[in-house]
Subunit: 327 residues, 2 copies
């Protein structure tokens, strides 16, 4: 059976030890980091747990490792930051310390390379199921982090990419349709979400965004978070929302694109607000990613959806909340 | 039932929101920290799991919260650093979201105040048992962090406090003797370990220590870690080890002080090495904490224990390793 130091060696093999700004990495009591001048640090922490966030029988180890890193990194994107280092707390059953672990770490290493991060430390423990907690440390130019609290009445409400894609993949899985080859491409975002780092950094560098969040819990819930933090309301136009495209056959089975776009979680798109005066400067795509204006911020502290029929109705948060009973 | 935002409010109530260097704390996508000039950051992460590190039936919620913070903070002490911020990932059963959580957070808040830290962020999830992962971010003057890798042949090997106290408490519990009032004081270190922050910072400031680690896994194992990292061996004198005092009645039951001092984990004392030329400058106590020379570092890469009878024998690691089978 693997000993802890053998496990740490297994981890270390997949990740370079030290790098720019990282004076001491894996293998000491703690990591030592040298902050760059005129930068602020952005720190976020995120749990990724078997049977809560993934199923070991369904999700390949490599996808689990990739997604654990991508999810957590999305919080850095949502502040306009650049991810630099990450730390991994990992609980593992004995049965997962070899092949499964190599796949999991391979997925993490792939994500870390793509997003430009080093693994700087962690902690491993034996546990009956797989539990992971990631801490990501990123950087941003001093004073340029984009908070949730800066939205002002009149600001435009914008979102990147397409909403509801991850929820579509999840529902295909929940309805056991995911093994059908023709739907494979619809699973992509559920397995491989993409933190919108380039867009976040572009918005921070230009100071165009007045507030920002990533859509981890779903548009209706995450819009609620920024409205609450900013002390404002919002009006969203359903016909403007870039909702997931759903093949007719699945629509007939009850898959509803607007519902998925409004309430589906885990898209990890960026939802941000922008003063109107910048609207002419916003390209339609940034680093190849579409950006869509879907509504505006209002003084009245309510969130209203103008439906496809033109009728307004309150938009209730319907996204993911781990502590809420399912309806 | 509690919703996630209600839980976050429950957490926030026990902790101040922002402070020195913390620009954005709980409630945004991530925390924003402004590094102090001429400092390096020290970062460590540590899991604290029900049924692995504590038992909900035995350990009061407040003690669990305190110990989760104290254990993780000890890694900062072991680098000579000053803890500044911490981040909490928490999985909780429904039954723990009220009274138990308040006790747990109360213990954490007590520890955070004592050690001078702010809670800067976290993540909460529903989970069948209590799982916590802490990330601690500390500070040290540039270039002054004390690593595991600096021990040199001829250096003196020193340890703080008393070894085996936490193991004594653990064994009293395992043998169901912990409810007897006369042994209550012997449980103190198991429930309330004390990271040796003042000693670690003193050693870093004076640059007296050539290497350092905290005794989380037990002297025999932790000494192995520093010898491996430094490429050296060590000779330890059993009669010099400041072993836990054990009442005669418990000795007759087989409680062995030397065994506990050598292999018992969770004391969180500091084990460090020091060039001989500094030995005359080392006070016998530092901030009220006794420091004892227990041996020396050798060129030969073996760890040898000179027993109470004067006979030398190899000292095998016998401490805590979550992935090793119990002997």
């Amino acid at each position: 059976m693997a000993r802890e130091d053998q496990l740490i060696e297994r981890v270390s093999r997949q990740f370079p030890f030290t790098g720019d700004g990282l004076k001491v990495g894996i293998g000491d009591d703690a990591a030592v980091l040298r902050p760059a001048p005129n930068k602020e640090y952005i720190v976020t922490t995120d749990a990724f747990l078997e049977n809560v966030h993934f199923l070991r029988k369904v999700h390949p180890a490599r996808a689990v490792g990739y997604k654990a890193v991508a999810r957590a990194t999305s919080d850095i994107a949502a502040m306009g930051g650049r991810p630099r280092y990450f730390f991994l707390t990992l609980g593992l059953p004995d049965s997962c310390t070899e092949t499964w672990l190599d796949g999991f770490l391979g997925g993490m290493a792939h994500a870390a390379r793509r997003f430009g991060m080093l693994l700087a430390g962690g902690d491993t423990t034996k546990y009956p199921s797989v539990i992971a907690s990631l801490t990501i440390l990123g950087e941003v130019d001093r004073g340029k982090a984009i908070l949730r609290s800066g939205a002002r009445p009149g600001d435009l409400l914008c979102v990147s990419g397409t909403l509801g894609e991850a929820e579509l993949g999840l529902q295909l899985m929940q309805r056991k349709l995911h093994r059908q080859k023709r739907w494979t491409r619809l699973l992509r975002k559920h397995f491989h979400p993409e933190p919108r780092l380039a867009l976040g950094q572009w918005l921070a560098a230009h100071r165009y965004a007045s507030c920002m969040i990533d859509t981890s819990d779903g548009l209706s819930t995450d819009l609620g978070h920024i409205c609450k933090a900013s002390g404002v309301g919002a009006r969203v136009c359903a016909s403007k929302i870039p909702a997931v495209k759903i093949p007719p056959e699945l629509r007939r089975k009850g898959f509803d694109p607007l519902r998925m776009a409004l309430h589906g979680g885990e898209d990890y798109e960026l939802l941000f607000t922008m003063p109107r005066r910048f609207s002419s400067r916003l390209p339609r795509t940034i680093s190849g990613l579409r950006v869509t204006v879907i509504g505006e911020i209002t003084r009245e502290k309510k969130i209203v959806l103008i439906g496809p029929d033109g009728i307004s109705a309150p938009l209730q948060p319907g996204g993911w909340d781990p502590f809420r009973e399912k309806a």
